[in-house]
Amino acid sequence: MSLSNMSKGAEGIISSINGDTRFLSRITSIGLTPGCKVKIIKNDKNRPILLYSRDTMIALNKDECDNIMVNTEVAS
């Protein structure tokens, strides 16, 4: 499912990321790549999503989270 649909506390592993070159290079440089584990800290309406990944708390714009797909089944 897409990152933007995940609710607070949910965990998963990024399966794919879509977007233009600029977005891809920015998102990888902050540490989000396919295969990387994420945990949702907060997902409120009209606010960026807060997630935790690679020891880091990251705020991500919601529209762009639509382009990040997460596999929520494999996470333990």
Binding site: P48, L50, D55
Partner: protein, 672 residues
């Protein structure tokens, strides 16, 4: 090398403690300028060690070395230019895996470098043990653990620096290249790139960037290649999809391999405390932010008070100096220049400087602690509509107190266009000086209706900001540069007071020097225009004012009101004093502007009998939305480094304020 001095460039992602290290290395010896031809701020400093001078260049804080922003392009061009003898790359030990990305993006650049694993104390608290020697062997460059906040821990860093300089240590990236080789087209592409095509970069680095879709590298390669090579190149490029993702995966695989046996992987849990919960709350978050800012503003008055006191003391010097000069037989013109221009503007600037000092300190502290990033998160959506970052809300709130403080506070916005746009919008926020005269004037003219006037002013402010965002936004923050938030919320850190204070003092000094250069000439011109030995009618300002009165009447401003409006561009608090001087014929116009002479006792009657309601409304609009004051204009120039944009914004505000006055006047005429 610059004049035989060794140059060290600091490279690191935001929150890697780069500024702390910069401050720790250079202390007070800092200089803020601009990168040549660019609007990005350039920080340089220096230090002496064993009798040798070192220059430290603080490169802009970016997440990578791609070509997505001016900051990134400046950073990599500077490194490739060879101006730095050595590059000091920073990573955050507490988020080692993620923050090593910058190192992986550097791989392939042949400028000598060494790696600093900063925030070692935080990593230790997390229970992480990092073996710097093991990492050093894998990378072939010196590696050191450091806590930039602890001055005593710098010895290891100096040792690495010496070694990197002596051995010219180049980062060994062989294993990363083998990762890249598994990306389709990488090896083939590499084979096509002639060596040394862009100096400073290896073919590996260029091939990786071409795969990533780096526009600058792709254009360069496309120009350099011809014939069948070009056809091959273009077919590889067109077959590459989501290249940045592929190299990103390779980089993290490489980092993963590097860290094997170097650090014990401790799984960390997100820290999300009470304050985080409160400030990010859906309903109350914004209120918490506003309370934090108000608290910060009140707090910033405490360090501001001594400077404000100095300003007032200078002000108090004027009468005795003036009488002393007169009794010593100094010509009136000289006394005027010394007292009314030099001392008066100095007093004015120093008083406002107190506010700049306080705001820079409090904002710097909020940023260093990590609160600023949370504020950005909370206001991201609202400010995003104006093309701004969430942080922009801070300068806006500060501007209710002082626009100069707002402009100084805009420093925390890392994108130049957004910074200029933020300041441009902050000007529309009525400052403390406007609030000191508007309620008084509107009560005088409209009685209880004053509340309505103030509400109208606040509504006009919102509309003004929205329109101004449209007018300047397209140029300053083009649609192609508007993107959603991708930002780290760093863990809270204790601020390092000594470094912060040093920075704040340096910054205040810079502002003072720059502002005084702008303010004194303008004050001098204004003083000359209003100079008269006797009655107001002798002054040039009077002659101009009465000559153009037919035009200014269209805006609802007679010559007295128009002169007070012009005077309000110097300082709004003086506008009423100018009216008092003009209508009563006492005191000097210039003294009124800078608050030297008091208003006459029967001011109420004087104004009420001379000014009609529509004119009063027009005047209030004109003054409130006029340019803030010369000191704030000078501060805007200091922050934006652009005379062009400062002038443009000032001209725009002059036109818009007169337009608003005109509208208010004509609506007023219909009502009364």
């Amino acid at each position: 090398m610059i004049d035989g001095k060794t140059v060290i460039a600091l490279l690191g992602q935001p929150n890697s403690g780069k500024s702390t290290l910069f401050n720790g290395l250079t202390g007070m010896k800092q200089h803020v300028g601009n990168w040549p031809g660019k609007t990005v701020e350039k920080k340089e400093g220096s230090f002496f060690r064993n009798g040798k001078e070192y220059i430290v260049a603080d490169l802009p804080g970016t997440y990578s070395l791609s070509a997505n922003s001016d900051e990134e392009i400046i950073t990599r061009d500077y490194i490739a230019s060879g101006k730095a003898d050595v590059v000091c790359i920073l990573a955050d030990s507490s988020q080692l895996e993620r923050s090593m990305f910058m190192l992986s993006d550097y791989a392939g650049i042949e400028v000598p470098c060494f790696l600093v694993l900063n925030l070692a104390d935080v990593a230790e608290d997390q229970g992480k043990k990092i073996n710097a020697d093991a990492l050093q062997k894998k990378l072939s460059i010196p590696v050191v653990l450091l806590s930039a906040t602890d001055n005593k821990s710098y010895d290891g860093l100096y040792k690495c620096l010496d070694e990197a300089l002596k051995e010219k240590t180049v980062l060994n990236a062989d294993s990363l290249i083998s990762e890249y080789s598994q990306i389709e087209g990488f090896d083939e592409l590499k084979g096509l790139i002639p060596a040394g095509i862009i100096s400073g970069y290896s073919t590996n680095w260029l091939a990786a960037k071409a795969i990533e879709g780096d526009k600058i590298v792709r254009d360069k390669l496309s120009q350099a290649l011809s014939g069948s090579d070009k056809t091959k190149y273009e077919s590889i490029i067109s077959n590459t999809d989501k290249g940045a993702l592929k190299t990103g995966e390779s980089k993290f695989k490489w980092i993963d391999g590097l860290l094997d046996g170097v650090v014990n992987r401790v799984e960390t849990k997100p820290v999300f405390g009470k304050f985080d919960k409160a400030i990010t709350d859906k309903r109350w978050g914004k209120l918490v932010v506003i309370l934090v800012v108000i608290g910060g503003l009140i707090g910033s008055f405490i360090p501001a008070l001594p400077l404000m006191g100095v300003g007032m003391a200078i002000s108090a010097l004027i009468p005795p100096v003036s009488s002393a000069m007169t009794s010593a037989g100094a010509p009136a013109l000289l006394t005027g220049i010394v007292c009314n221009v030099l001392l008066q503007s100095l007093a004015f600037i120093v008083q406002m400087l107190g506010f700049v000092f306080g705001v820079t300190l409090v904002f710097g502290m909020l940023e260093e602690i990590g609160v600023m990033a949370r504020i950005s998160y909370v206001f991201d959506n609202t400010m995003g509509k104006l093309g701004l970052q969430g942080k922009s809300v801070m300068p806006f709130l500060v501007s209710f107190g002082c626009t100069m403080g707002g402009a100084a506070g805009a420093r925390v916005i890392d994108n130049w266009g957004q910074k200029v746009l933020t300041i441009a919008l902050a000007w529309a926020v009525p400052c403390g000086a406007a609030w000191s005269i508007i309620p008084m004037l509107s009560t005088m003219f409209f009685g209880p209706g004053a509340v309505l006037v103030i509400i109208i002013i606040l509504l006009v402010m919102i509309l003004h900001m929205w329109v101004t965002a449209k007018v300047f936004g397209a140029k300053l923050v083009p649609a192609s540069e508007r993107y959603g938030m991708i930002m780290e919320l760093p863990p809270y850190h204790k601020p390092k007071w000594s470094a912060l204070l040093r920075y704040v003092f340096g910054r205040t000094k810079d502002t003072f020097l720059r502002v005084i250069k702008v303010v004194i000439p303008i004050c001098a011109v204004f003083w000359l225009l209003s100079y008269s030995t006797g009655s107001v009618e002798e002054s040039i300002l009077y002659k101009i004012g009465t000559a153009i009165e037919p035009v200014t009447k269209v805006f609802g401003l007679n010559w007295q009101l128009f002169m007070a409006y012009v005077a309000s561009s110097v300082g709004k608090e003086g506008a009423v004093g100018v009216l008092s001087a003009l209508y009563s014929g006492t005191g000097t116009v210039f003294g009124a502007v800078t608050g030297a002479n008091a208003s006459v006792d029967n001011l109420n009657q004087l104004l009420l009998s001379n000014i009609a309601k529509p004119e009063a409304l027009a005047f209030m609009m004109a003054v409130t939305f006029n340019v803030p004051c010369i000191v704030a204009i000078a501060a805007t120039y200091q922050e934006t480094h652009s005379a062009k944009w400062t002038g443009l914004i000032a001209a725009y505000y002059t036109v818009v304020s007169l337009l608003l006055a005109c509208i208010a006047y004509h609506i007023g005429l219909l009502i009364w």
